[in-house]
Point group: C2
Chain length 210, copies 2
Amino acid sequence: MTPKKTIERISLYRRIVGNLLLSGKKQAFSHEIAKLAGVKSSQIRHDFMFIGTNGRANAGYDLQELRGHIEGFLFGGDADNFCIVGVGNLGRAILAFFRARHKNIVIKAVFDKDPALKDRIIQGCRCYSIDDASEIIKKENINIGIIAVPVEQAKLVAQILVDGGIKSIVNFAPVPLNVRQGLFIENVDLTMYLEKAAFFSRNLSKLSEV
Amino acid sequence: MTPKKTIERISLYRRIVGNLLLSGKKQAFSHEIAKLAGVKSSQIRHDFMFIGTNGRANAGYDLQELRGHIEGFLFGGDADNFCIVGVGNLGRAILAFFRARHKNIVIKAVFDKDPALKDRIIQGCRCYSIDDASEIIKKENINIGIIAVPVEQAKLVAQILVDGGIKSIVNFAPVPLNVRQGLFIENVDLTMYLEKAAFFSRNLSKLSEV
DNA sequence: AGTAGATTGTTAAAAAATTAACGCTGTCAA
DNA sequence: TTGACAGCGTTAATTTTTTAACAATCTACT
């Protein structure tokens, strides 16, 4: 019913399968994929059941077919249109990373409040004033917003995106945005990841295992 | 026994409590903190039991004291020393974000393989050749490494860090690093977060609630 | 063709995480 | 002082997630 974790793993499987295909492999067993993903083989089979793919006993999964199933499950018919708000270091990093690299993730626009950036083309992507967000979101059919602004502005930006019709947000600002019904928000908290890593560097014994 | 999720929340509570203090608040109830953190109040009380803090019935938690408890739990005596490998967009973004901002997260060095960057000071932080990683890690007493290099180099870099004595890694390269015994690795997969957001923008009804 | 061995799909069990329940304590007002 | 209420701490229940178990199936080899 709430397969968030499953979705995360499926996204990971997609890349693993892609890499295996690139390396020339045609098929793989659940335990091979499991090794690469860092999970148990039973988890793989369980997840694959969820997305409705099937392998063959003693022959594993056909990777081409598997990729098709995963992408069919994960992606819709058309590519998903994203926008990024905030063209600081992080916004540029994300833009550089995804621009023209992922066939289902298309960054259609970036927004900033700095007038100097207005209409500039950054990494091949046009920068608009945040004031025009609502208009551009509709025009470009953008469904997902990435928030990469300073923490003070995050809530306001989220509101602007939602008002513009955004359904789903990935928030990099270090403040958890309150989720509202009918909206997906993923808070990616870099400080938290660093503090967690620091904690476990001092408390490795508190880790269960792997 | 494996309180990874709890650690994540505690890191979040730390910031929430800090913000409340900044806003002039002296104490808070579990349900107030819960609201801000996006969890249930019973979760708050449960987690606070874990870190060994205590409030008073009908008066909630003393925020100053709570912050002390949280930081005592989360941080060690000294600040934790980090390094970043890869001075591309993402590495710079992380450096800019943390440099001199967080009293317990100190970025002591950045590494890159580009000779042009060697010994340059970036955001107040010196850039070293990756070849000197082992030496610098020991000299600066660095325990945590942040990997922000292209995917092809991630595994090699991880090996270098581990060989140098790093205990804990935050990996931003889109390949899951295999965890070895006695090592903490956090894979932060940006592609996964974007794909997940895209998936739920098309399948909002599949979200449980919240 | 038959048998041995390996892997799948699925169900059941186990483990982990979250949420609820509730006795107890402290506060406030009459 | 007493009663009513509100909130904490803790334990128990629930829910979710992961792992194991195993019959069915396929491959390969003789």
